[in-house]
């Protein structure tokens, strides 16, 4: 379930998702955030393995996925969600929908096969990351002046030392929020989550920044 640290190649685009991916699914208020392992086969079969409560469960399911043009889609029969993604970007990410809800997902390439780690390592991996430094962005003055509100979602990888690498913008409602969000993210840090010797691994995570303005009546 771990992926090796890799330097992002800016000209490498995901045209076909064949391979293994470490994924974060977010936006479900009932379940909370989920981590899953997506394994796309060349035969249009997708195997999803979910991590639940600090350990990898045996909850694997095989689904079929479709690629039409540059649109990837599949239906998760267990959670009842339809997943969509636009291929051709630098990462594998998209949205999921049910009849009443919607959210997002983001994957980083998994550099190693599932199951080669010890139980202790997997248990460590299954835990939530602890934030060591949570830097807050500042609300851009220009956005206040123009009464602009919005939302930014950035997905990234966290090294075993807790450092944030390879940030990717998944959603930017207004360009004015791009710089302060990224600035806050790169100033943040997590606690290390594996022994120092295992420093070539990463795990995916995302952070949402919701910019709101409250009118103060006078």
């Amino acid at each position: 379930m771990l992926s090796k640290v890799y330097a992002q190649e800016f000209d490498s685009r995901v045209d076909r998702p064949i391979g293994q991916w470490n994924c974060v699914l977010y936006g479900n208020p009932m379940i909370g955030d989920e981590r899953s392992f997506f394994s796309f086969g060349a035969n249009n079969i997708l195997r999803i393995t979910r991590t639940i409560e600090g350990a990898i469960s045996s909850n694997s399911v095989d689904l079929s996925y479709e690629i039409e043009g540059n649109n990837l889609s599949f239906y998760d029969t267990i959670s009842g969600r339809t997943f969509n993604a636009t291929l051709g970007g630098r990462t594998l990410s998209g949205e999921w929908r049910t009849r009443t809800q919607q959210g997002g997902w983001w994957c980083s390439p998994a550099g190693v096969d599932e199951g080669i780690f010890s139980d202790a390592v997997i248990e460590t991996y299954g835990r939530r990351l602890d934030v060591e430094v949570m830097a807050s962005p500042s609300y851009p003055v220009q956005a206040i002046r123009e009464v602009t509100q919005g939302r930014v979602v950035i997905c990234f990888e966290v090294t075993t030392l807790g450092e944030i690498i390879n940030p990717n913008f998944i959603e930017v409602s207004d360009e004015v929020f791009r710089a302060p969000s990224l600035d806050a993210l790169v100033r943040s840090k997590y606690r290390s989550w594996l022994p120092m010797t295992e420093d070539e691994f990463t795990r995916p995570a995302c952070r949402s920044f919701i910019y709101r303005l409250d009118y103060v009546y006078r």
């Binding site: 609300y139 123009e146 920044f209 303005l213 006078r218």
Partner: protein, 172 residues
């Protein structure tokens, strides 16, 4: 002959500098809510110029003199513009209460002078009465949707009127 030529060049240089200085002052004051009027009344002309370069006390003195001088034969439009100028000068000087009185008089005479509404909006903004400021700003905007001063003032009001909040959520 050489000395004469040198003096001539210096004179040209100085006049260029003076011209540049006046221009830059005028440019710097463009955002101050004011009205440039006064054709035909030298006090009002001088008053509006004084206001435009930031000499508010002098601008008020000259504009009030101009209003007295032309009290008999001045049209309502002229008087309203002069009062709007006075409003701007008082507002810029920090006397927002007097500024609002002058703007009220101006708007009472001519109700479609967008500058008077902006000047009054700025005065209300100075007093932190943001609802009234916004109301006047809307009126100014309706009369002149292209006003740069209105955009700038609206930004200043929004800065006071809105409290920013950022919610961060981690997904992992």
């Amino acid at each position: 002959m050489r000395l004469f030529r040198f003096i001539n060049i210096c004179r040209q240089y100085l006049s260029f500098l003076l011209f540049f200085f006046v221009c830059s002052q005028l440019m710097a004051q463009q955002n101050t809510p004011s009205t440039i009027i006064g054709v035909g009344n030298e006090y009002l002309s001088a008053g509006s110029f004084a206001v435009s370069i930031g000499q508010y006390e002098e601008g008020i003195r000259l504009t009030e003199l101009g209003l007295q001088q032309g009290s008999l034969n001045m049209t309502d439009t002229y008087r309203a513009s002069a009062l709007s100028n006075l409003c701007a000068a008082y507002a810029a000087k920090g006397d927002a209460v007097t500024a609002i009185q002058r703007c009220n008089e101006s708007i009472f005479l001519v109700s479609n002078n967008w500058r008077a509404y902006i000047n009054r909006a700025y005065s209300y903004y100075s007093l932190n009465e943001l609802v009234e400021a916004r109301f006047d700003l809307d009126a100014a905007n309706a009369l002149n949707p292209d006003s740069r001063q209105a955009v700038q003032l609206r930004g200043m009001i929004n800065e006071q009127a809105y409290r920013p909040r950022i919610i961060m959520e981690d997904h992992q």
